[in-house]
Structure formats: structure tokens, C-alpha cells
Subunit: 587 residues, 2 copies
């Protein structure tokens, strides 16, 4: 009988809250040697959890290790440990403790009593990570860990070559509409690379640059040509080459879910209907194509964006060649995947193989706004854009709709949703071409912007800075968030800019920000956390409150304030005014 509900004579525990699932985000190979195991229980319900584990064929050698409670929120405690097994085979179960043992969590869920000396019992109740096969481990590019990306919407960054600008372009700094053009181009980005290197960023992500009709270029006409208003392949090559010299990687945007309306294959289908040799490149329900009836599949309800049939070998081979071509031809360093979750998994598996075959450390990052585990098993994307954190940051810092506990809950949940290596290269973004700018949402409060930047920059993952955020560029939802970059320094928020530069410099200086572990620090009203490894430990404090808050530092240690000018802190107290943050390194 395994269904007892209460530990006899002991405490009533909420067995419904106990959560674990083998071979999932709660049990995965972190590297070739270690498996990470996670467990979730009702907050404050258990005093301790131990993992009972070992080789699944050698029950006599099973060991016990205490798990670490790494997070808590309103509802749950989150426990984690990493273990290694000599023969690559792992079997395990959980021992649950109040003051004494109150049960076990097993292959068959919660069990009150279990004889761990009985091999038949053990065999039945152990869960399994059957074998660490190296080829299945989710490997991510090292250079992305802790990197600072700079996202550019090329039409609006800088006009470096007016000869190729659209004829109907409007003057720089005109208010953008959904239709107008300003003349930004790749030569412009090339010319501003020194600016970006000076800012300290490590990579650029550009929204699409292939031939298209719109200003955003998400309606590709030709996957093999740079948009003529943006430049040529030569411009891109020159840009990548100089960027690499400056230690800046370049990631492009791939729009493979749908083509543009003027893509030659779709034009052929429109013209020739059922007779078109490209009719199976799309999902056509009936001929002739009718935009009003929308008798073909599209992105959303947008007739101008016909969905590509990525399960058709002609189509996927075409797109895989595109993906490889731009890496081989221009040496770019990765792809951001537009509408990534509407394309089939089969395509992405082939895509990963193709991309990694020509550049093993290329970064593959999907645009997915919701739970993305099914793309993050190691066979498809490296990671995703972290929209849940973006939303949480807006709600906590800008709109003050959620409190600190809820914010941490959202951060924790997203962390817990994915394998650790996924989080290490997750793109933490704030502003983007698809969302209102934070400075506008926070009513111009640049203190808020700096606090949120400090959080994202020092939190686990890489960070994306949308062009202009660093100088205080404003804008509501698209089209406003796509205003032209300001190049006259008189228009900049210099205090903000210098702060961005200084913060990025700090994040680049310490390896622990790239490769260190993350833990929240125990402080009630202040957002505080540490990044640490065996050699270094950095503490971050962010006061997003309306009152000053005092922090007690451990008097036994010495600290260095990495951001402020007064360098060494010996006092055990630290006072943070509203809107203030501290980045403190233990000496």
C-alpha cells in the first residue's frame, strides 16, 4: 500500500505540493559528468531533503547527499543538487525530513515508509536518469554566458550611406510611423562599431537585413540578398570583420516561419495557382489564393506573410542552406529565430545540425514568449529570449504592479523551468522592437532603468540592450519604440550613459558574472543576490523601495564597492536610498 497521506505521529505535509519529474527540467545532465536534480515542495513544509542515489545496477553502493534549498517564494521551496556517477547511470529517490524523516518521493510519488535495505523495494521505487550519453547533453556556446548584446533595428540606427537610402525617406528624428523610412543601414552600424566597443558590448543582434519591402524587413523577398537600402554582402562582411576585431559577435534574425508577399516562390503561386511548381512551399487550402478569404496559412491573420511549409524537403533544404550560407560567407556568429515556436521541431533539429556543422559555437536563440521546454532539450535551440523576465521587470520596476516576492517568484519559476545551461545563455531583454521602452513605461525615471539594468546584467544569462536605451531614448509601443537613434550627445542622458558604460565594464571584468552561480540573498525589502564561484563572490543590492534600507554586511569580511568611487567598505552596515544599488565584491 503506497497511498498513505500523513506521516504517522508526525507532521501533516502537503504531499500534493511535492514535484519532481525524471529526465526533464528537474533532472538533466548539466555536463558530461554531472546530473542536476531539482525538487519542489510547499514552502516551509520540509526542513531538509536528501537525495538517495547511485548506479542503477549497484544498489549496495547507493549514497545520500543533502540538497540545497536555493529559492523560496510565497508557495514553494526549491531544492537542488548536482551529482556524478562513475558509470554514467543514475538512479535516485528523495528522503523528506521534518525533524525526522516524514516520507519519500519516488517513481510512484509520495510514500510514507520504505525499506531502503530491501533491494526489491528499492528497484521498484527508484527513479532513473538511465544513461549520460554525451551526444544528448545540451551544450551551449560559452561566449554567450554573461555577454552583453546590443540589439539594432538597422533602419533606425545610423545612416552611413545616403546613396542607398530609400527615396521617400523622412528626416532623421521624425516621428516614426509603421510605414516610413529613415535610411539607417549596415554602413551606419559599421561606422558606429567604435561607439559600441567603447560602450563595452560583446555582441550585436540585428533585426532582419535581407531584401524585403517593409522598414522592419520581417517580410523577406530574397533570403540570399541584403536589402539594397541596407547595403551589400560586402558591407556585411566588412562589418563582421571589424566587429570581430573589436571582440564583438554578430547575430542575425532568421524569418523562416513565413516569407514576404513578394518572395519569388509565393509570387509564382499567386500567378500560376495550382500549376505553380512552388505550390507546396506554402500551405494553400484552395486555389486561386484569395487574401480576403485567407485561404492559405499565414503568420497571424496577416495575408502578406504566407507561412512556409518547412516540412517540405525543398523548402527546408533551401532554408538550411540559407542558414549555413550567411555563416560561411560572412562569418556571422548565430541566429535569432523569429516566431520560432510555430515552426516544426523537425525543422529546428535539422537547423541546429546545419548551423553547428559550420560553426560549432554559433548561438541559436528562439523568439518564444511562453514555456519553451520542448525546444530546449539540446536538439534544437541553445536558448530563448527571456520574455517572462522582461514582463516581470516591467511589472516590478516600472509599473510597480507586483511586489518583490512576486518578482522573485517569476524569476525563480523561469529559472526552474529550464536546465541550468539554458538559463546561462538565456537572452534577458528589456526594451525591444516589439515592446514599449522601459524609460517611457517608468515615466522617464532613469533610476528605475538603471536598477533594472543592474538586475538583468548581473543575473544569470546574457543581457540585451536595445539601441538607444543607454542614452535614454523614449517610445511607447511600435512604431514609437523604433525611433531613430540620437547621435548628438547634447540629447543624451549622459549620467545614464556613463552608468551603463561603467556597469558593462564591471560585468566584463569578472568571470563570476559569466560563469558563477546565482543565489538570492536574504533581505526582506531589497532585491539582493550573489554571483559566486570558488574564487570570487559579488553581491548585488537594488533598492526598488520608497524608503532607505540598511543592509548588514558580515563584519568578518572586507568589501569593495565596484560601482561607487569610495572603494573599500569596512563597516558592517550599508544604507541604500530609494532607487540606489550597490555592487559589492568580497575581498
Amino acid at each position: 500500500m503506497i497511498m498513505q497521506t500523513v506521516a504517522q505521529g508526525g507532521k501533516m505535509i502537503n504531499k500534493y505540493a511535492l514535484k519532481h519529474r525524471p529526465i526533464s527540467n528537474m533532472c538533466f545532465a548539466y555536463n558530461e559528468k554531472e546530473v542536476e536534480i531539482r525538487f519542489q515542495a510547499k514552502k516551509d513544509d520540509l526542513k531538509k531533503i536528501e537525495l538517495f542515489y547511485g548506479d542503477k545496477y549497484d544498489f549496495k553502493a547507493l549514497k545520500t547527499i543533502e540538497m540545497e534549498k536555493i529559492f523560496s517564494d510565497f508557495e514553494f521551496d526549491y531544492f537542488v543538487t548536482r551529482v556524478s556517477v562513475e558509470k554514467n547511470r543514475l538512479a535516485y529517490l528523495f528522503k523528506l525530513y521534518d525533524n525526522k524523516i516524514v516520507g519519500y518521493f519516488t517513481e510512484w510519488g509520495y510514500v510514507k515508509e520504505l525499506d531502503l535495505l530491501d533491494e526489491e523495494i528499492i528497484q521498484k521505487y527508484l527513479m532513473h536518469y538511465p544513461y549520460i550519453n554525451k551526444i544528448d547533453i545540451h551544450k551551449v556556446p560559452d561566449w554567450v554566458k554573461g555577454a552583453v548584446f546590443y540589439q539594432i533595428f538597422p533602419e533606425r540606427f545610423f545612416n552611413g550611406n545616403d546613396l542607398i537610402s530609400p527615396k521617400n525617406k523622412v528626416p532623421w528624428e521624425t516621428e516614426p510611423t509603421r510605414e516610413n523610412f529613415f535610411g539607417g543601414d549596415l554602413e551606419g552600424i559599421y561606422q558606429k562599431l567604435d561607439y559600441l566597443a567603447d560602450l563595452g558590448i560583446n555582441a550585436i543582434y540585428m533585426t532582419p537585413i535581407f531584401k524585403a519591402t517593409t522598414n522592419h524587413k520581417y517580410d523577406t523577398i530574397d533570403y540570399y540578398e541584403i536589402d539594397p537600402h541596407f547595403g551589400t554582402k560586402e558591407t556585411l562582411k566588412k562589418l563582421v570583420k571589424k566587429a570581430h576585431k573589436l571582440n564583438i559577435k554578430i547575430v542575425l534574425d532568421s524569418v523562416f516561419n513565413h516569407s514576404g508577399y513578394m518572395f519569388d516562390k509565393f509570387v509564382d503561386v499567386k500567378e500560376n495557382g495550382e500549376k505553380s511548381r512552388f505550390k507546396n512551399w506554402f500551405y494553400i487550402n484552395e486555389f486561386p489564393i484569395d487574401e480576403k478569404k485567407l485561404n492559405y496559412e499565414t503568420f497571424g491573420f496577416e495575408p502578406k506573410m504566407p507561412k512556409l511549409n518547412t516540412s517540405n524537403p525543398e523548402v527546408f533544404n533551401y532554408l538550411l542552406k540559407v542558414a549555413k550560407y550567411w555563416i560561411e560567407e560572412t562569418d556571422i556568429d548565430g541566429w535569432r529565430l523569429d516566431v520560432a515556436n510555430e515552426i516544426d521541431h523537425e525543422f529546428w533539429r535539422k537547423f541546429r545540425k546545419a548551423v553547428k556543422s559550420v560553426k560549432p559555437d554559433a548561438y541559436i536563440v528562439g523568439e518564444v514568449w511562453h514555456n519553451s521546454n520542448s525546444w530546449l532539450q539540446g536538439d534544437q535551440f541553445d536558448s530563448i529570449m527571456n520574455y517572462p523576465i522582461q514582463t516581470a521587470c516591467y511589472e516590478y520596476f516600472a509599473k510597480e504592479r507586483i511586489d518583490i516576492e512576486t518578482f522573485k517568484y517569476k524569476v525563480n519559476r523561469t529559472y526552474f523551468d529550464y536546465a541550468t545551461q539554458v538559463s546561462e545563455v538565456m537572452m534577458n531583454l528589456l526594451d525591444s522592437h516589439d515592446t514599449p521602452r522601459f524609460i517611457t513605461e517608468s515615466k522617464g525615471d532613469s533610476k528605475k532603468l538603471l536598477m533594472v539594468f543592474v538586475f538583468e546584467l548581473f543575473y544569470i544569462g546574457c543581457t540585451s540592450v536595445y539601441y538607444g536605451t543607454e542614452i535614454g531614448l523614449t517610445g511607447k509601443m511600435d512604431p514609437e519604440c523604433r525611433r531613430t537613434m540620437k547621435w548628438n550627445k547634447n540629447d543624451w542622458d549622459m549620467e545614464l550613459f556613463n552608468a551603463y558604460k561603467k556597469l558593462i565594464e564591471i560585468s566584463n571584468e569578472f568571470d563570476v558574472i559569466k560563469n558563477g552561480e546565482f543565489r538570492w540573498l536574504e533581505n526582506k525589502d531589497i532585491l539582493s543576490f550573489k554571483r559566486f564561484n570558488e574564487n570570487e563572490e559579488i553581491h548585488i543590492y537594488i533598492n526598488n523601495c520608497e524608503k532607505s534600507i540598511k543592509i548588514n554586511l558580515n563584519n568578518m569580511k572586507e568589501y569593495r564597492d565596484l560601482y561607487a568611487s569610495e572603494s573599500i567598505i569596512k563597516s558592517g552596515k550599508l544604507k541604500l536610498s530609494p532607487g540606489e544599488f550597490k555592487i559589492i565584491k568580497i575581498i
Copy 2:
């Protein structure tokens, strides 16, 4: 603020028990049109759950549908519904009801209040099944649904050609040891095909038949040759051909995790050490190979079974060719995968493509004893051998260690762990070459055996009958469970045999047993369930109690007893003695 714990003024619900996860066993495309959505809550906590769903780009057209509570056990209620969306895109959340609405389950977990008219709110809280891409849907072979497999251990079934028997063979019906041989072979199976056709089975699964040294043949020497004691390719071809004429499919056992010790490539490594051109076919930690040090990876701790490096292209190409060769050469209908969960996922993805490319409806069934979701996403196996049900059946029917509720909990949990199409072709087994025979575990009680067979046969999935079970063959754990088949009818339990035949005949007669849905019937002490579709409904009652039990049938309908001779039942009462079962069709 989304973290409220109690519905204000309403009932306290256990929010920790609420479980759902998008794109998982709780949200999957059942076919090209329908997505199945499941939800789990604490038993009796909620009176009703509604799914609020629709196109993720058209919030105005969202609809509400009530979910069906399909199972309950001690702890949980299980809710299910299937929905279709015109444009292949699905967004949804759950409305939770006691007498009135008590909250919502969303992308951000449990929320007490939600304004479903506010599009910004909806956008934030909806969960997504982003797109039904046909190529990603887990498709399974239709012929396996409800099929009856007959598992043969060829060395022990029938000796059809004594000329090729091992020289050291012992007389038929001698007590088996781990080492002895009896002379069973493929010719023997061929000669007994009429017996099997008469029994009514639909498919044969044979344990390995390729050249090997042991009697079980799990130590392959040559993947391209039939073991000379079993016959030749011609014998296998003849066997498959006749089987197909009798509408019997043939599934072979693939042992790809490890080779035998005498596999020529391993022999080469043993002989030539680091100089062997096959050294990367295995995982060798140091040269020379040392059996005692076990300085190479093996299956378990068995030095005679070196693990194959299935991530090495030479190796996987070799094995994929093997998989295709036997289908193309001999027309077999599928593969059972030995130690399936220790081989890398990448290999199984390639394997599925290879196998389905030569026979699209070939059956791929993995030997996995534990949670197997990561192999059952549509890109690897069709299904697995249902060991959890095997264990539950032993515990409930033979050993009486668990009660009816616990048995149902185990069945439900396994059902809920996988997509419905996986369950539809899951191999429900009882006896096997790796477990004691049920009749022995139940101390010779053939009533118990029949009850459990009725359960497995009429439950969702296919059923496996291990050779001899149908005549009462006994045996404890290996080697006893591998006794020779008895062919003298005087030694048979004829009552048992006739019951098996009759039951298989019934299961073959009604499509609803293959393609119908499954639900438990509400009866306290008796195991009862129905299989149904739009046209047919069959009820199964199994009395695994020590007392007689009366069942109330709905007086408004007429019933036919499919198993007993007295055919039509008009009375509203049905009495079942201990060990009795009924298979009743609503007329």
C-alpha cells in the same frame, strides 16, 4: 498581484495540487485537427473545470468548454478534453469551479481573479500550443491498437529442425538452467503458425534471433546472420510470409545498446587494442581491455556485453542499415528495442526515420521500465512495453498487496503520463522472459490469470501473451520462466486455453476494443470499465474479491454477455462470484 492563496469568501482549494504543463503529456496534438488538454486537481476539490480557449491571435473569439473528469484516485481528479482550432494555433487557460468560480489556472499558475475581457490580461495569462505542425504529431501504427502479441523465446518454443540443434542440447522439458539449450528454432515457429492463428493472435514478438553464443541471444555476434541453431534467412522469410498470410505480423528484438563479446569488431579491439580500427565502436577507457578492471563501458557490470558507441557515425550507420535490412530483406513489421533508454536520443531519432522510410507502419516499441516521456514525443519510439501495468497486475491480482484503488491509481498514472496515442499502442504485458510467470506468482490460480488477462486484453493498448501462458505453463524468475513449451495437450490446462481463445476472439471481433475510448465504471469493489465509441459500448466487470458482488445494470437497456453462453441479459442485476468476470455489450 497574482499570488493569492484562497478564493475570497469561498472555499479553500489546494492550489498546490493543480497541475498542467503546456506541450507535454498534458497538452499534445492527438491528430492533425485535435489537441488534447489534461488537468489534475486534488480529489473532490473542484466541481467543474472549464477550458477557455481559441486562436492565440484572435482573443475576441475565445470559447469555453467543460472538461470531463475521466479518472479519480485517492489523491487526484483527472480532467480531459479535446479541442480543435481552425488555424492550428491554440491558446488556453482553465476556469476552476466549486459552486461558483474559485480561480483560474494560467501561464503563471493559480490566479484568483482575472478579467477575461481585458486583452492585455488574457495575453499575459494564456498558455499556448503554438502551432499544430503535422510533421511533429506523434503518429502510431493503426494495426497495433488492440492487437494481441504472442511473445516467443525461440530456443524454447518448438524444435522444427533437429539437424541444426546445438549438439549439447538437453531433452525437451528438462528444467532449464542459464546455460542449457533445447533446440527450439524458427522452423518450429513456422510449423506452429497454425496453432497461433487458431489461438487468434495478431502478431509475434520474438526475442533475439541473430547469431550469438547464449541461449537468449542478447549477445549478438553478427547482426546480419540468423543464429545457425535457429535457422537461416530463408527460414525467417518463409516464416514471415506464412505469418502475413495468416494476418500475423512479426516483430524482432534489436539489441543495439551493446554487442556480444564475440562480435568481430570487439574481438578486433581485444586483439589489436589501441591499434584496432574499431576502437571507437565502443567506449574504451584504457588499453588493453581488461575484463576484471572493467575498463570499458558495458551493459550493467557485464564484461561480456560491451556498450556500442552509437554516436559514432560508423556505428550508427551500421546499425541503421541492420534495422532497414531485415525489414527490406524479410518483410518483418517492427522492432522491439532492448535496453532502449541507455542509447542516445539522437540514435533513436535516426532509427525512427530509417525504419519508417522502409515501412511506414512498422512498430517501434522500447524496453523502458521507467518514465519514458522523453522517447515518446513522436520523434523516437511509437510506444513502450508497459512494465508499470505489469507490476500493478502482479501486485493487485496475484500478490494482493495493493487494493483496487491503488491499482487504478497506477493504471491511471501510467495512462496520464503519456499522450493518448502512445497508450493506444503500449504493449501491456504480463509474463515475459525477464519476470516470473503470473500463474506461479498466483500459486497456480488460473482464475486470477484469466482476470488479469481480461483486464489487459480489454484495456487500452495492445496485449502481449508470453508463450505457454495460455496453457498454464509455470516458472519462477529466469531461468525457470524460460521453460520449454508443452505440446502434449494432456499437459495443458484446457479450460484456461479455451478461455484465452474465446477472449481473444471477442477482442478481435469488436472495433471498439481497438479504437474505442476507455473509462472506469463506478463500482466500489469490482474492477469495471467500458470501451466505447459512437456505435458500440462494451462493459467489463472483474471480481478480484473474496465475496460475491452484485452489479446494477441500467434497466432501460438490453445487454449481451459476450463470454457466457446465456446471451441476452434483461435483468437489472448481475451477480459475480469471486474470480468471475463479465464482458457485456450494450445492444
